[in-house]
């Protein structure tokens, strides 16, 4: 029955990518562009395998639909960490043998070269990105916001706030702004009192929040002057500054970072080529190339050994990556276990909180 539903829903939209040999599905925008430049184009050139990039709002959704319908057209998907783990548990992804991944240039095996947590049963990390907040420096001629608490301080820094419309990485910063150390955030959040505390903190700025959903909206809201500061994916803000010379400044205090994973959907039509693509992309060189297009940190130690320049040839990348030591002073890694377990409940609570006036 379920298969029938999905077939009905999907058959109409699946024609587009049918021709290519390897189909990659990612998030579009400047991130999709970075992955196209860093992985897709050089891979196609080197191996002579036709490779196509297609966009989705969140690739997890169509991948789940395709696998359940038994009509998979995507070979590689870019997934958030929790989704990669959860979908792996649900048997929607092919397991990946980490020992087959490319070793570091100095010969260190991949399993040792990747940062802790960057390899899971079905996914390989391509980069580490962060939820940060950024402000428009022209709006604060005097004192500038420097801490996560400043984001919640509308007395000191009046003006609208842009916030991602989901509980993930929002409840966390609320707690950190309320004084919870990064290490204790998930412990506190797992208790009912801690959850109430997070929502209470959000209540203090609720009327000043403009909610955004697509990653590209955050820098847009800042540029339009609709908000004076906003949470954002750090790469989107970086590109707005580096490419468009916007007067935006990222505040790294209280950043919430996580791995972005490449995974192969179960039943991918070209699983072998997909594995080739994955190995090629997640090599030290591949990850470094990606970091030249967007400020997300490569997940390999070997990729961070040398300096990195933005593709404009002059901007230093390392200080702009979430993994740069200077940016990690008060940083929190998203807890995959916490969100896999509490996603449903917290989404509902969050939606209820949003709907309440």
């Amino acid at each position: 029955m379920k298969k029938l539903i999905l077939t009905t829903a999907l058959t109409c939209c699946m024609g587009a990518a049918a021709q290519a040999d390897v189909v990659v599905m990612s998030w579009g925008g400047s991130y999709g562009k970075a992955q196209t430049e860093a992985y897709v184009k050089p891979f196609a050139e080197k191996f002579g395998i036709k490779t196509t990039m297609i966009d989705a709002d969140n690739p997890a959704t169509p991948i789940k639909a395709q696998v359940e319908a038994g009509n998979v057209s995507v070979d590689i998907a870019s997934l958030e960490y929790a989704d990669a783990v959860r979908m792996c548990d649900e048997g929607l992804l092919e397991p990946i043998d980490a020992s087959k991944l490319a070793p570091a240039p100095d010969g260190t095996p991949a399993t040792e070269d990747f940062l802790p947590g960057a390899l899971t049963d079905c996914g390989v990390s391509t980069d580490i990105w962060a939820n940060v907040y950024a402000y428009d420096s022209t709006k604060f001629p005097g004192e500038k916001p420097t801490t996560i608490a400043d984001f919640f301080d509308t007395k000191k820094f009046p003006g609208k706030r842009g916030v991602n419309k989901r509980p993930k990485a929002v409840l966390e910063i609320a707690l950190m702004a309320d004084g919870v150390p990064a290490a204790d955030v998930y412990k506190v959040l797992a208790t009912p009192e801690g959850l109430d505390r997070a929502f209470k903190k959000l209540d203090t700025i609720k009327k000043d929040i403009v909610w955004w959903e697509a990653g590209a909206q955050a820098p847009q809201l800042l540029a339009d002057g609709e908000v004076v500061m906003t949470t954002a994916y750090n790469g989107r803000i970086f590109n707005a500054v580096a490419d468009e010379h916007k007067p935006f400044v990222i505040v790294w205090d209280g950043q919430v970072y996580e791995n972005e994973m490449f995974a192969i959907p179960k039943g991918a039509p070209h699983a072998e080529d997909a594995m080739k693509f994955l190995t090629y992309s997640t090599s030290t060189e591949g990850l470094r190339r990606s970091a030249q297009w967007i400020s997300y940190g490569p997940a390999r130690k070997s990729a961070l050994k040398e300096d990195l320049l933005f593709h404009d040839g002059k901007t230093e990348m390392l200080p702009n990556l979430p993994t740069y030591p200077g940016n990690m002073k008060n940083a929190l890694e998203t807890s995959m276990e916490f969100w896999v377990d509490h996603q449903t409940e917290l989404s509902e609570r969050f939606n209820a909180w949003l709907a309440a006036n």
């Binding site: 969140n58 959704t61 792996c88 649900e90």
Partner: protein
Amino acid sequence: MTETASLTTSDGKPLKAALAASLATRRKKALLLVAPLLLFVLVTFIVPIGQMLFQSVHNDGFSSTAPTLQAWFKDHPEGSDIDESAYAALAADLKQMKADRTAGVAGTRINYDISGTQSLFTSTARKADTMKPPYKDAILATSDKWGDPNVWRAMRDASSPYTIDFFLNAVDMTRASDGHIVAVPSDQAVYKKLFWRTIVMSAEITVLCLLLGFPIAFLLANIPMRHAMLLMILVLLPFWTSLLVRTTSWMVLLQQQGVINDLLVWLGIIDNGHRLEMMYNETGTIIAMTHILLPFTILPLYSVMKTIPPSYVRAARSLGATSWTAFRRVYLPQTLPGLGAGGLLVFILAMGYYITPALVGGADGQMISNMIAFHMQKSLNWSLAAALSTILLVIVMIFFWIYDRIVGIDKMKLG
């Protein structure tokens, strides 16, 4: 028997039979003519709606992955002691889940009921291969949550693929650990409020559309043809623009640094520090949706008004009615079919709208369709999305029925 029963055709067949045969051929031909459309509607409309209804009460995420437990629950009625045999069944299923990589599927289903159980399944399944009897101790050693009667209650409920739990969920109800149906805590109740808000906002939008559309339709119906054509193009213009473009233009106009606010500040009507908040709230949704849905009231109203000759109002006036009375007693009642059709159309469309509130609605301008989209696209809880959709469909049908009772569906005139 009557005489007609014995009537025959010239070649001796009974007349009734001959008539029926000729009618049957005609009916077959008619059926053949509509067959392509019927098939199309069936495949693209009826079947998906049927599937949606089915999915709202059917979720085999647990029942298909835990057959041993399913059998155990069948043999042991509710209230039975959760003994070693139950844990042995659980262990057998967990082992199979590990082999099939389906622990997450089972966990997801139970997690809909009891939050925090997704990883209970995945983490225990990982260790399932090494478990040895007595299974009760082995399993409880991995996590004491397995001793929670509520988890067992949830597994028993989920062992049947058919459930009304998603409908309970969709009306802010849940099951307590004893299986009784209770309301969810008020800080998690969201759907009833959203359904109500959806109805209220749709009604507000409908009323606004009718109020704004009525004079335009009247003008259209009563000015010379060449002016009417021009005005009609202006009315239809929004139809020819993509919904997204229209919504985005409203964002440009309405936002705090937008055109309207700039103009008001420039005119000195409002202070720069107190710009109006017309977007990312209910106001924004109502303004943008009213604009987008306005043609749906204007067109039916226009087509009805076009057929009302001016002599009716003249007659009323000559009979001694003031222009207001003539309008109220004579003109307005005759536009009812158009008002009804336009109103119903806008109301139903508004009930299901989702792009516009998603873009300009902010937090308090969200409608139930946004929640359905959320469960379809983000939380991936399709059964809940299906249950919410089913309720929305039923609400729309109830309003349709009320409309039919009050105005009469046969009186509707769409254009």
